[in-house]
Symmetry: C2
Subunit: 148 residues, 2 copies
DNA sequence: TTCTCAGATGCAAGTGAATTGCAGCTGCTT
DNA sequence: AAGCAGCTGCAATTCACTTGCATCTGAGAA
């Protein structure tokens, strides 16, 4: 059964990160995976309200998953935390993301590239090592076509 | 006297936006102009602590200045509002910011540029209009040298 | 310069999402 | 089957803003 297989896969992912595969945690991860855009804590809690899980539990689940790297936690600028499942072929830094500052939607921008000029002219010092080593995540923030 | 002249200039800017040039407001704007990176409400309040201005006042000043367009109010992703003076040559999107995901420090990266290739190969559709029109703000997120 | 008042401030109280403490459960390892 | 480190629910707390209100004050009018 496909669904069952999927759940087992999620359990495996969670356990591989050293976390327990508890029902609420799996449900949260499953929900985020099924969603095509980032969800706020409130969104997640509401969608899982039928289970009567505590908001603190949901929040801890989201935080744990984020720390484990299974989920990305960002604030698109409206002071609301949003969570988005990260798939394996989708590591941070692999490619830039476009974040809509209005609706929070995140799109991938594979065809954009960041050019770093090693700067002698920069007002103060050089860019951080992380930038040169490309160990960074690039967020391009603006209004998406729908919100424009 | 240069400093005095500068203060008068700031007063003029503030008044031109329909705001009163009060001491605290001018001090806030002056501080942000002198700072080379965005400051949080707390940063500003601490730096101006010698004046014993109320935090609510500082906050209202920051908000007012932001609404007037003299200051930019952003959240780099760590859930802390940050304020940055906008000079004329410093419009939104003019340059990217490097954000340390550990300590939250924000640096400006004037020597980085965003290259957008018009993509026929992108998995789904084209990049948002905002990207092409450069009406975006770029955040480069990673560990700063100090936190690395 | 003095007058006047909308706008600004200080103080204190309110708000609400995020976080934490703790006692009682429960995956999961042995 | 047993034990415990990790989770959960509940409640309380924290903390960063936000607001209400009485009191000042910048700046245009007289």
């Amino acid at each position: 059964m496909a669904v069952r297989q999927n759940l087992d896969e999620l359990r495996g992912l969670v356990r591989a990160k050293g976390l327990r595969a508890t029902p609420s945690r799996i449900a949260v991860l499953e929900l985020l995976r099924a969603s095509d855009s980032p969800m706020s804590h409130g969104d997640v809690a509401d969608r899982l309200a039928t289970q009567a899980w505590d908001r603190a539990t949901i929040y801890r689940n989201l935080t744990d998953l984020a720390e484990a790297g299974l989920v990305r936690r960002t604030d698109v600028g409206d002071h609301v935390w949003r969570f988005e499942a990260m798939s394996d072929d989708h590591e941070a830094g692999a490619h830039p993301h476009f974040v809509c500052t209005e609706c929070g939607t995140v799109e991938c921008l594979p065809e954009i590239e960041l050019a770093v000029r090693s700067s002698r002219t920069a007002s103060r010092g050089k860019p951080p090592r992380a930038v040169k080593q490309r160990q960074v995540e690039v967020h391009v923030r603006g209004l998406c076509d729908a919100c424009q």
